[in-house]
Structure formats: C-alpha cells, structure tokens
C-alpha cells in the first residue's frame, strides 16, 4: 500500500476528528436574530416653488397594492408595505386661495414601518379549515383568529365574555337561553352577521353528515331528530328577531354554555346553499374561508405547508394591532428550535419541546415559558373484559408499582402531578385524599396481586400511540417487572390505535393522553357511555343512567349526586388509571404580546414557570386576538 494513501486517510481521519471535537466543544449557541432589513426613508424635503397656497392637508398619496393611504401634512405616516411595493403619487391639490410665491414643504413618507407579522409554527394534523369538522384542538387557532362564537371562555376574567352576542340570559329553570347579537358585526365580505347565520350554523352542526360530533348539542329541543335524520331543523333553535336567538332545551340543561357555545358561527349566505354531498370539498375550507373574526384568510391553506391570515380592519372590536399572522409547518423539534432561536418564528401552536430546549429558552431573555393549567391526563386503561386484570386489586397494584414522581421527573421535566381520579372537581371528589392513594409501594403491590391470585405468567400488551416515548414505557415495564407484572408495549401510529381502541375495542391495556374534563359529562360520553364507542367496555346500564342523570342536574349540587356515585365507584375499582395530570408549557418570543400569556412572570427555572389558571379548560388563544401585538426588536 503506497504510503501516500495511508497519509491521505490519516489526513481525512484527523480532519474528521477535529471537526467532531470542534462541534462537541463549541460554546453556547450565539444569539442570532435575523432582522429583516426595513427600508427607512430619510425625510426628504423637496422645495417646490408654487404660486398657490395649498389649504387642504392632502399633500401626497401613497398607493399601496390597491389601497390608498392618505398622508396628512406634518404627520409622520407608517406604511405597512416594503418600499419597493410603494408607488408614490404626488398630487397637487387644486383649491386656490391666494396667488403668491411661496415655498412649501412636501412631507414625505417618514419611515416605512415594518409590517407586523406574527409567525407561528404548527405540526399537527390540521388539514383543512372546515368549521364543522374540527378534528383536533389546533383547529382552534384558525377559528379563534378568523371566526366568532356567541360567547367565549375568557381566561383573564375567568368567565364567559361577549363575542358576537353582546349580552345573553338564561331562563330561571335553565330550559332556555337567549342571545342578543351585536349590531354591525360583519362577515369578511361585508355582509352583516345576523340571527339567520346563528340559526343556520347550529342546525347544520346537528347534521351528522357534516359534523362528526353533533352529540354535545343533542339536548336542544328537537336536536335528536335532526341527528337521527328525521328532521332538518331543530324546533329549539329559534330566531326571535334579526339580532336575537333563543335555544330551548329538551329539559333543564345547566351545561349549555359549556357544550354549545364554542361552536364558531359560519356564514349562511355562502354555505347555506351548498349541497350536503359537495360540502366537504367546497373551496371555502381551504381558500375561501369567510368568518367574522379579527383576522381574515390571506394565504390560502395548504395542508402541511401553512396558511396565513391578515388583519380585518372592520372587526367589530376594532382593527387588530398585528398586520398578519402566518402558520408555518415545521415538524422536527430541532428545526422548530433553530427557527425560534433565529427569530424566524415567534411561537408554536403545540407546546412540546425537549427539556434541554425548554432550559435554553428559559435561560434566554428573549423567550419565556408559560404554564397553562393542566388539562391532560396521561392514563392507562384496562379493557374491562381482560381477564387477568378483572380483579380491581390488580389494577390498584398496577399503580402501586409505579414510581410516578420519578417517571414525571425523568420523562416530563417534572411537569405533572400524580392523580387517581379523572373527576377533579371538589363537588364530587375528595381529591386530596383520593389522589394520595396508590402511592409508590412495590410491597403493597405484591400483596394485592397475591391476594387477587394474579397469574404472574400473563404478559399484558399495552397499546399506545406515543411512538417516540419508547423509553418511558421501558421504564414503566421495568417498575412493573419488580412486582412481577410482565408488560409489553405495542407502539402504534395514531389511526391504527384509534381503530383498535375506539372502533374495534381490541386491546388489553392502552396508554393515552385523555383530555381532563372541566365537567365530567363530555368525558364520560366519549369514553364510558354505551351510547358512543365505549372503547374500554366499562360502560353499562347503571353507569349510563348516572351519566344521563348528571346531564340533567340544573345546579352543581344536583349534578354532584350522580357524579359522586360514579367517582366513588371509580376510585375503588379503578377502571381508568390516571397516571398523572399535566400542565402545558407554552413558549414564546417575548416580542409577541399576548394578553393571557403575558400575565406570567419570566421563568428562570422549571420550578418558577408560572402556571396560569384557565376558565373551564378555556383556550387562551381565543382571548382577543385583535389585542395581540409584536413589539419591535430590542436594540
């Protein structure tokens, strides 16, 4: 072998090693912020000899992509478009007062203000903007920015606040609700929003061919008939006059606001005549969305690429401070993190990062991490007909075997609280006492297993869609193995899991993130009710009766009776094993002003991340988007 070959290879190896070392030793990431060059025009003073004195203020107009901005004398003007898109048209004003030779100043555009574009990253399965088909929480971003509801969950005031309806009232016996719409609210195409739109929206939302989830509305009088297809409109949805809508209920329905008022109102004058078969493929859902919210569709929606909205100057609560908001698709967390660091995006629509990334954001004064009161329960659930775990002592032992605190610290940055009951309302839960049960105690777990006569040869197959959390389950398996429970984890993609859990009820054990209910009825409906999929097969007539009774309670005290019965059954028999409840850790660039998130102080460590309370699991991103702002880059 020629010695030069050897030298060449050594040279290469040394270079590689050096670059690896350089990579490994390189210091803290530099703060790099990409600042878009803003064309700043100096004040141009042009001396124009004129023989006429101008009395009117109009000195110059600046034409911007079809709009005309009137520039007033001596008033600095901000134009929201880059310089090269501005066409200057200097107009002489005709009104003549005196004939005299004088020099006047032409006030030029002083400084083109940078357009305020809030850029957010998204990665979820949001693939359309069909307001009736919101399949996932992230759709909320679209609805909250572009659409209005009757009333909304106000996280700062901690109550329902006016949106399209300026006031509303409930009948004494909770059988009827009346909403008074504000006058002058307009769709993005200029048509006025009236009671007709509201009535049409609610009736359409009952059509199961258009809305996959009509059930929450089923308590409106006549709604069930529409859902069943025997009627086209529900008699309980009543247009009183052009600005008043009344919802009559089948029976006293204290949960009406919670269940019905998050529906976004869609424009009847556009969608009203679309045939049912054409509804889903209608361009409205991608490129022609028309709402009545503070922003309107700007860049047509393209699945997995993004979409953008621009300010609606005619918004009924005033024009938004931001000019545009764009949503850009970025999948890997590293790419997201780099884009955050570079200021290319200001936040994310989904709050998950690795602990190192959270740590870096906390340490950086440009960013903040804000906790939102937890609404996610990471939980196990055994299939009710899975024989080896039929004895409730086995299920109790399962929890005793898990060192939940250690799991939370190691895998979820310490963000989580062990709980044992999904019903976290003190009205029907002795939460402090209940959640202290089933502490980490392997010896107790073994005792319980022995007492239940557990067959230690059983291998439990746990199905879950947390495909990238293999280590978490490996740790759980190791803890279970200590007490003699053999568990194997089957990692599935989301749809396959949904099919097994919901549609086929084909599993022994599942692990999932369940939305923690503000009120148990919705959660019970979706997970335990025999009227729905009842994936775990725990639902039965007795439980169903309690669920229905809970819905009919007019007051908390009335509902507490059936709910307490359910909760007490659950805490002993543990058909559902909540492992822990989690807060969401949102993060954002501090340039972005968001009234709810900006209530929180600056976090300096995981422990000092401020947890903000929300109203009934409300959505902070619904809070007055027109007030959001983008502060200038700090020099």
């Amino acid at each position: 072998m020629p010695s030069r070959l050897v030298k060449g290879i050594w040279l290469g190896l040394v270079l590689t090693a050096l670059s690896a070392v350089a990579l490994a030793c390189s210091t803290e990431t530099e703060i790099v912020e990409v600042i878009k060059e803003v064309p700043v025009e100096v004040q141009v003073v042009k001396e124009v000899p004129v023989e006429k004195i101008v009395t009117q203020e109009v000195v110059k107009t600046v034409e911007v992509a079809g709009e005309t901005v009137v520039v007033q004398k001596d008033v600095p003007v901000y134009v929201t478009v880059p310089k090269d898109r501005i066409v200057e048209v200097v107009k002489e004003v005709k009104e003549i007062v005196e004939v005299e030779k004088e020099v006047i100043k032409v006030v030029e555009v002083e400084r083109a203000r940078e357009e305020k574009v809030l850029k957010l990253r998204y990665k979820e399965a949001i693939n359309h903007l069909n307001p009736f088909r919101s399949t996932s929480r992230p759709h909320g971003w679209a609805w909250n920015l572009m659409y209005s509801q009757l009333i909304f969950k106000d996280d700062i005031a901690g109550q329902w606040s006016p949106d399209l309806a300026e006031r509303w009232e409930a009948a004494e016996d909770a059988t009827s609700y009346t909403f008074y719409l504000r006058k002058g609210a307009k769709w993005h195409d200029g048509v006025e929003v009236t009671a007709d739109d509201v009535v049409w929206t609610y009736n359409t939302a009952l059509n199961p061919a258009i809305n996959p989830r009509p059930q929450p509305l089923a308590l409106i009088k006549g709604a069930q008939a529409v859902i069943d297809g025997t009627a086209t409109t529900a008699e309980g949805i009543v247009k009183v006059d052009d600005y008043t809508v009344r919802f009559d209920q089948e029976f006293a329905n204290a949960l009406f606001y919670d269940k019905c008022c998050s529906l976004v109102i869609a424009p009847k004058h556009i969608l009203g005549d679309v045939a049912e078969a054409d509804f889903e493929a209608h361009p409205f859902h991608t490129s022609a969305s028309i709402g009545s919210g503070p922003f309107m569709l700007d860049t047509a929606f393209v699945a997995d690429v993004g979409w953008g909205v621009k300010a609606n100057p005619d918004y009924f609560l005033g024009a938004p401070l931001l000019d545009r908001v764009t949503f850009e698709f970025i999948e890997p967390r590293d790419a997201l993190f780099v884009a955050m660091q570079r200021g290319e995006i200001h936040g994310s629509t989904y709050p998950t990062l690795t602990s190192e990334m959270y740590q870096a954001l906390i340490a950086d004064p440009r960013f903040n991490v804000i906790g939102i009161q937890g609404s996610i329960m990471r939980s196990f659930m055994f299939h009710n007909e899975f024989e080896p775990a039929a004895d409730f002592r086995v299920r109790q032992a399962f929890l005793h075997a898990l060192d939940r605190r250690a799991l939370i610290d190691a895998f979820w940055q310490g963000n989580g609280t062990p709980i044992n009951t999904p019903f976290q309302n003190p009205a029907w839960c002795d939460c402090a006492e209940w959640d202290a049960r089933y502490e980490y105690n392997p010896d107790k777990a073994k005792e319980l297993l022995d007492a239940a006569g557990y067959d230690y040869d059983t291998v439990i197959h746990n199905k879950t869609y947390y495909v990238d959390r293999g280590d978490f389950f490996a740790a759980i398996q190791q803890m279970l193995a200590v007490v003699g429970i053999k568990m194997e984890t089957v990692l599935q993609q989301g749809p396959a899991w949904v099919e097994d859990y919901y549609n086929k009820s084909d599993f022994e054990l599942v692990f999932a993130g369940f939305g923690a209910p503000s009120d148990p009825s919705g959660w019970l409906d979706s997970q335990m009710s025999t009227a729905a999929q009842n994936g775990g097969r725990y639902g039965n007539e007795e439980l169903e009766a309690l669920i229905q009774a809970g819905k009919k309670g007019r007051t908390v005290a009335e509902r507490a009776v059936p709910y307490r019965a359910i909760a007490e059954d659950f805490i002993d028999r543990m058909p559902f094993l909540p492992v822990f409840r989690q807060n969401e850790w949102w993060f954002k660039n501090n340039r972005w002003y968001q009234p709810v998130l900006d209530q929180a102080g600056a976090a300096t460590s995981f422990a000092t991340i401020e947890i903000l309370p929300v109203f009934q699991g409300g959505a902070w991103n619904k809070y007055h988007p027109e007030q959001w702002d983008l502060k200038p880059i700090a020099q």
Partner: protein
C-alpha cells in the same frame, strides 16, 4: 429509432397498470380508514357519531368489495381523478400538484448537482490518480456514502444555520405565499446539497473508476499514439465513453433520491411530496398516499424512458441489439 421508442411505450402501459394494482393492494392492507383519520388521539374529546361514520364510508365507497373499489379507483384515475383526501376532503390531485414543483426542484437539483459534481470530481481524481487530492476525495466520498442523511442534515442545521446563519432553517420561501425566485433558490440550496451528497459520492467513485478504465484502454492508447493532443484524447475519446453509463446510473438513482427526499423534506420543512407522504402515512390518509406513490412512480418511469431514449440517441448500438 421510432420503433424502439414505440416498443418502449407499449411496455409502459401494462407497467403503469401493474404499479397501480400494487399501490392499491398496499393501501388496502394498511390499517385505519377515513373515520379513524378524523380522530386525533392527542386531543380526543368527544366520540364520533355512527351516522357520520356510515355517511363517510358511503362517500368514500368503503362499503364495496375491494376489487370493485380498485376498478372504480382505476376508472377515476383514467379521468385524472385521484379521489378525495380523508383528512381534508379535497381532491388529491389538486393537493399533489402543489407539491410537485418543490419536490421536482429538490430532487432534480440534487440529481444534477450529484451527477455533474461527481463527474467533475471523479474525472479530476482519475487524471491525478494517486495524488493526495485523489486519496482525499476517495476518503471524503466514502464518508459521504457512510453517514446517514438525516445526521448530515442535523449537523448542517447546527453549523450553517444556527451557529453561522448562512442558510434559512425551513420552508420553501421566507414569507408564506410570497414567491420570489432568489429567495426560493436561497432556501433550496442547503437541502438540495445535502440530498445530493450520497449521489455525489457514488458518482465521483463511478466516474473515477470508469475514467481510469477508459484511459488505460487500447483505443485511448491508439489515439495518443496517433499524436492527438492530451486535451483532445481526454475530452473527445475517454470522457465520452467513460461517462455514457452515468446517464443510466443517474436516472436509476431517481427513486432513491425521492426516498431520500422524505428525510430531507421532513428536516427542512420543504413542502414537497415526501413530507406530504409521510404526513399522509401517519394520518392514514390513503387516497393521498396512493396518489403520491402513483405519481412518483410515473415520474420515475417517464424519466427512465427518457434516459433510455437519450441513451439510444447517443449510443446507436442500443437501438439494434438488446
């Protein structure tokens, strides 16, 4: 020549049919359906009504037997209708068309970069055989083949995006919906280069070997003996003969590049078909997946055809024999 092209075309049609059948069978075997595609397990709240499930199944024709569904799908396909996406309810073809340009941009830039770059590097290496340059290049091209693409992408993200901000981190353009050619090319450079590295390395090695082989062959010796200038010998005789096979090699790499684009598009949020396909796969959006599989196969098939024809044009021996 015409006969050759016609013959190639005749083979083309049954192949297309076979591809469609294979694609369809694969989709039918995958778990999940439009109904499960509606439920996002990460934020599941309420159950889905049975009526909606039934209506959707009817709408997508899922209540018919599989062969019937295939024939219907094929019939629609012939009319350019790829069906409707489960996730968006939109026509698949519309969704794909938007992705075609970014993907073709990425893969063909990588293809050209890899092939041309590889030829240049390989030929230079061959001409300076056993020099430091030659050994260093061989070593680097080995490394290029040996490091997983996703890791190269991550290192690039770290070094030339975060540390030294030479390139943008993600996307096709910097402003959503605002297209600017230079901006687009600026975004294209890094992903295309990383995607091309494997091909670059392979074709460098190939070009080097082929060039060496030709350089030592009889007719090059003859050409030299005739007293032709070295430039003429290399340019006219050696180069041409050594690199003809690269046409085929490069087009055969196209499917691999499309595969590699899956990774690159994911990493750089490049809105192409690879990204689209992975998302469709994760969301069980099978009409989209079928459309993408079919379209990419079609592109590969067409470019193979073009390469064959090109080859036949350049090298007359192909036309007669086989």
């Amino acid at each position: 020549m015409t006969k050759y092209i016609i013959r190639r075309f005749l083979v083309f049609i049954p192949m297309l049919l076979a591809i469609s059948a294979i694609t369809y069978v694969m989709m039918v075997l995958l778990p999940g359906d439009p109904v499960t595609a509606l439920i996002d397990p990460f934020s599941m709240q309420e159950g889905i009504s049975q009526e909606y499930i039934d209506k959707q199944k009817e709408r997508y024709g899922l209540n018919k037997p599989i062969p019937v569904r295939y024939v219907i799908w094929l019939g629609q396909l012939a009319r350019g209708n790829f069906g409707y996406s489960f996730m968006t309810g939109l026509p698949v073809i519309e969704m794909i068309v938007g992705r075609l340009i970014p993907t073709l941009q990425l893969t063909f830039t990588a293809l050209i970069l890899g092939t041309v770059g590889g030829i240049v590097l390989g030929v230079v290496a061959a001409l300076r055989q056993y020099s430091y340059y030659d050994y260093f290049l061989s070593f680097i091209s080995l490394i290029g083949i040996a490091i997983p693409t996703f890791f190269l992408a991550l290192i690039a993200l770290f070094l030339v995006v975060l540390k030294v901000p030479l390139f943008p981190s993600h996307g096709w353009t910097s402003e959503l919906g605002v297209y600017n050619l230079w901006d687009n090319i600026y975004h294209l450079m890094l992903p295309a280069f990383i995607l091309s590295i494997e091909l670059l390395a392979t074709s460098t090695r190939f070009a080097r070997t082929a060039m060496l082989e030709v350089m030592s062959s009889d007719y090059v010796t003859t050409a030299r003996a005739k007293g032709l200038s070295e430039f003429w010998v290399i340019g006219r005789h050696a180069f041409r003969n050594a690199l003809l096979p690269l046409i085929t090699i490069s087009t055969m790499r196209l499917p691999i590049l499309f595969g590699g684009a899956l990774v690159i598009e994911q990493m750089f949020a490049w809105p192409g078909m690879g990204l689209f396909a992975v998302r469709a796969m994760v969301n069980a959006d099978y009409p989209v997946l079928m459309g993408v599989a079919f379209i990419t196969a079609l592109i590969v098939l067409v470019s193979n055809l073009l390469a064959d024809i090109l080859y036949a044009v350049v090298d007359p021996r192909i036309r007669t024999g086989d």
